[in-house]
């Protein structure tokens, strides 16, 4: 599996920007690699949704319940948990692959009861049908930014949940270890390389007049003024 060190250094070599005074730094390439890798990962997940290839499981995520509301997004008395990582934004909360009770009884297993996705503005409809009504056996979750609210578990004790997330790669380059594995499929590295080279090429080919050097770039409109011929020195004498 390729690490960041291989990929980033290879790209810097390809840019021929390996000197200390290079226009493109390692930090630039790191950032580009992360953004392109995120796009490739999102496409991979869409194509092969449900696969565990890019899934991250978090256990023991604490379920919270606040005694006072805080604007925005925290409502008192409602059970919720905070996403442990940023996730890809898909329709119907596909970025959250599953949320389940974490049972104290190991024999039951974590797959016993899953929360189903809903949304704040449509969750009221669930209460109209006895088959869909949220309950401890038929619970739901909905997302409000990074808070995931739980419906139907008000009458039971749920201290923690387990979640499976399709989480993004963190673009804060200061948090990346250069020897970490780049978490994309191996066959996508060539695509990533091509895309990052495109980004870098665009940056290197930025025309001089597109750079803000403070010079006046006003272009004179209309008929150019006639240039008078300089008087001959002999004439003035």
């Amino acid at each position: 599996m390729a690490t960041y060190r291989y990929v980033v250094n290879d790209l810097l070599q390809a840019f021929q920007q390996v000197e200390a005074t290079s226009k493109i730094t390692q930090a630039h390439v790191f950032f580009w690699v992360q953004t392109i890798a995120n796009r490739l990962r999102k496409k991979s997940i869409e194509k092969n949704y449900g696969s565990g290839d890019l899934l991250n499981i978090f256990t023991g995520i604490p379920v919270l319940k606040q005694v006072a509301s805080t604007n925005p997004n925290v409502v008192k008395g409602r059970k919720y948990f905070v996403l442990p990582r940023a996730i890809y934004d898909y329709r119907n909360e596909k970025g959250i692959n599953y949320v389940s009770y974490e049972f104290s009884d190991d024999s039951i297993g974590f797959t016993k009861i899953f929360f189903q996705p809903t949304a704040p503005s449509v969750s009221h409809r669930l209460y109209y049908s006895p088959y869909e009504k949220p309950s401890s056996r038929n619970p739901y979750f909905y997302r409000v930014h990074d808070n995931i609210y739980l419906l139907g578990v008000d009458d039971v004790t749920v201290k923690t949940v387990e979640v499976g997330l399709y989480s993004v790669l963190d673009s804060r380059i200061n948090l990346i270890n250069i020897d970490d594995t780049l978490d994309i499929d191996e066959e996508q590295i060539s695509i990533l390389r091509y895309e990052v080279l495109n980004l870098g090429r665009f940056a290197l080919m930025m025309p001089q007049d597109r750079r803000n050097d403070g010079a006046d770039t006003t272009i004179t409109q209309g008929k150019p003024t006639a240039i008078t011929a300089p008087k001959a020195e002999s004439e003035s004498q």
Partner: protein
């Protein structure tokens, strides 16, 4: 229906979710929504074919002479009064249906166009002398009528503790994990649920799901090969035993 082979809701659900490509329940429909569709499928085929025959014993209310019909019942087939314990009914009598009988507020008093005591005996059209006195006044005539789901009994039913109802059910009260779908109707229930799911999705995105809905609708409603047609045919073709006995009876009669 002469069958004791049932499949569970979850078994049907596993097929339906695959056919709608919604194993992850991320198309905007919850598990409960699918189960509601399965329940509606059972209800529709029950109302169409009367396949679901249920027997239930109820306690006679000897003050009001009224008993509510059970939930899920839509067509009474037989009614009896009986005494004794639940496992050994004794002194059983038939309850007949009496047209326009009404004890709306409960109790022994009632209204009807044909009263037991031959009143109203001054009505110029409903003349009481058409009655066969021996039949109408017979102490062994027990009858009832149904209005708005309330079975109203004649007051002489007070001599009995229990009512046995045989009726057609229209599905199930409480869907759980237990098998309740007759195996012979399984394909209909699956196709009905799939068609409903695609119809729901079509409301959200007609371009993507319109074609799929049409395929599902055809699989359900085709007049020769649709699962609805096949299910109806299956139910109506059943009861070979009773039909054979009836044929034997009629053939001997003439």
């Amino acid at each position: 229906m002469d069958s004791n082979d049932f499949v569970s809701i979850n078994s049907v659900l596993s097929d339906v979710l695959m056919l709608v490509d919604d194993e992850h329940l991320r198309k905007g429909m919850s598990k409960g929504y699918y189960i509601s569709g399965i329940e509606q499928a059972i209800q529709e085929i029950a109302l169409d074919t009367y396949f679901m025959v249920i027997t239930k014993d109820l306690t006679m209310d000897k003050v009001k002479f009224q008993v509510p019909m059970p939930k899920n019942a839509f067509n009474i087939r037989e009614m009896y009064l009986w005494n004794g314990s639940c496992c050994s009914p004794s002194s059983t009598v038939i309850v007949h249906w009496k047209r326009l009988y009404n004890n709306h507020n409960g109790g022994a008093g009632y209204t009807a166009k044909r009263m037991d005591d031959r009143s109203p005996n001054k009505d110029p059209f409903y003349h009481p002398f058409y009655f066969d006195k021996a039949l109408v006044d017979g102490a062994n005539l027990y009858y009832a009528n149904v209005q708005n789901g309330i079975i109203m009994f004649s007051s002489n039913c007070s001599g009995f503790d229990n009512v046995r109802l045989v009726y057609n059910g229209m599905g199930v009260d409480d869907i759980g994990d237990e098998p309740i779908i007759p195996r012979m109707l399984r394909q209909f229930v699956i196709d009905y649920s799939v068609e409903r799911a695609y119809r729901t999705l079509m409301a959200k995105d007609s371009r993507t799901y319109g074609g799929l809905w049409k395929v599902a609708e055809n699989k359900l409603n085709d007049l020769r090969t649709g699962s609805l047609y096949i299910a109806r045919k299956r139910v109506s073709s059943m009861n070979t035993w009773s039909r054979d006995s009836a044929n034997e009876y009629y053939s001997k009669k003439w």
